[in-house]
């Protein structure tokens, strides 16, 4: 009996030790698999080629592989620029369709360049009316795109360098898709531009909230936004 109890004791002791070791190693392996690090200077990985996703989202040009769900993996690259194409306050009346005309947040690393000031916006829902209808860098007609200022191309080349990969976002993906179409039409390489989609869908770790609700008082911290407005007063008309 005594011998039996000794065996049992040793059995549980050694078995317990093995179990702890086993689960410890397993847990360590699992934790390394789930922890995703964004790209760093020393780990510039090859990017998947731009490829449209399916459905009506694909019709906006939103990418299948690099989109709102995966963009965190591609932030911080030294060979890329990140551009959000919204206005701080869009002049289109989105309140008419229960929307929000204000930039409520953005993804850290993206800089905001207002698409409606780059080129005239068309195709908005009728209830919304028109977006910004003032001066633009370019005018898009049915046949082509016309630069309105001598500095128009220089502005684009500065904020959307042709030798960099370009990631585009906006609220829902519309302006971003339109911007890619414009750049490609003006000679940018199509396979170096990704339409990431809309901030509305973003639930990653790098959201910068601009809209605040303090007990019912809504405010917007626009000073947080890296916003590049376009000063037409200092440009030379063509």
């Amino acid at each position: 009996m005594k011998r039996f109890l000794n065996i049992l004791l040793v059995f549980f002791a050694v078995g317990g030790l093995f179990t702890v070791l086993f689960f410890g190693i397993y847990g360590a392996v699992q934790s390394t698999k789930t922890h995703e690090q964004p790209s760093t200077e020393t780990t510039l990985s090859e990017l998947p080629k731009p490829e449209k996703t399916g459905g009506v989202r694909g019709q906006l040009g939103i990418d299948k592989n690099i989109n709102e769900s995966t963009i965190d993996q591609y932030l911080g690259r030294s060979d890329a620029v990140y551009r959000d194409m919204r206005m701080l306050v869009d002049e289109a009346n989105y309140e008419n369709i229960q929307g929000d005309s204000y930039l409520s947040g953005y993804v850290e690393g993206f800089e905001v360049v207002p698409y409606p000031k780059i080129v005239n916006v068309t195709g908005l829902p009728a209830e919304v009316g028109q977006s910004y209808t003032g001066t633009t860098l370019f005018t898009q007609t049915e046949d082509n795109v016309i630069a309105n200022y001598k500095e128009s191309m220089a502005f684009l080349e500065y904020y959307f360098p042709k030798d960099k990969k370009i990631f585009l976002m906006c609220g829902g993906g519309g302006y971003a898709g339109m911007m890619k179409n414009l750049l490609v039409e003006l000679g940018w390489p199509e396979d170096q531009i990704w339409v990431v989609g809309g901030y509305w869908y973003y639930d990653g770790d790098h959201a910068v909230k601009v809209k605040r609700d303090d007990n019912g008082l809504i405010t917007y911290d626009f000073w947080k936004v890296p916003y590049h407005d376009i000063e037409f007063g200092y440009m030379n008309e063509k």
Binding site: G54, V56, G58, G99, D100, S131, G171, Y175, W200
Partner: protein, 167 residues
């Protein structure tokens, strides 16, 4: 002594095997079986055959429809995007032509509803039968593109699942 060592080794091996089998079962996820396509058409709630409107509802109203096991159609529209959103135009035309009432959710309201657990991208239209989600339009599906684009195609999609007249 040799017997003791042998017993110990066997016992430890058995423990590790049990642990590995347990982990295997814990991590195994049975592949979701595809829901069979519903082919039996049904009627909407009687009041929805009148009105000819897109009716905005709140998250609480939506939850109440589910709780009370109602049969209805709802759209969730992309009110924050300037790109052309054909679904709103399509459904407005559809309700005008067919005399039905369809519920509508603003994007931020949609996020508060259980529909957001199933529908990832907007715009979308969803069909509920007695409080249960039967079908929805997938904004990432090429097959669903036509149903966004015209009232006639939207009607054809709905008529696979719903009796579009009260009788």
């Amino acid at each position: 002594m040799k017997n003791k060592v042998g017993i110990l080794v066997c016992a430890c091996a058995a423990l590790i095997a049990v642990g590995a089998i347990w982990l295997g079962f814990a991590n195994y996820q049975k592949p979701a079986e595809p829901k069979p396509e519903v082919i039996e058409k049904f009627h909407l709630e009687p009041e929805l055959y009148e009105g000819s409107q897109l009716k905005e509802i709140t998250a609480d109203e939506f939850a109440s429809l589910i709780q009370n096991k109602k049969s209805f159609i709802v759209i969730a529209h992309m009110d924050f995007c300037p790109a052309e959103t054909p679904l709103t135009t399509t459904t407005e035309q559809f309700v005008a032509e067919n005399g039905l009432t369809i519920y509508a959710l603003k994007s931020d309201i949609f996020k508060q509803t259980e529909l957001a657990d199933s529908v990832k991208y907007l715009p979308s239209a969803a069909i509920y039968r007695q409080g249960e989600l039967i079908k929805y339009l997938n904004a990432e599906s090429d097959e669903d593109i036509p149903f966004y684009q015209s009232a006639e195609n939207f009607r054809n999609w709905l008529s696979k699942y719903i009796n579009l007249s009260k009788e």
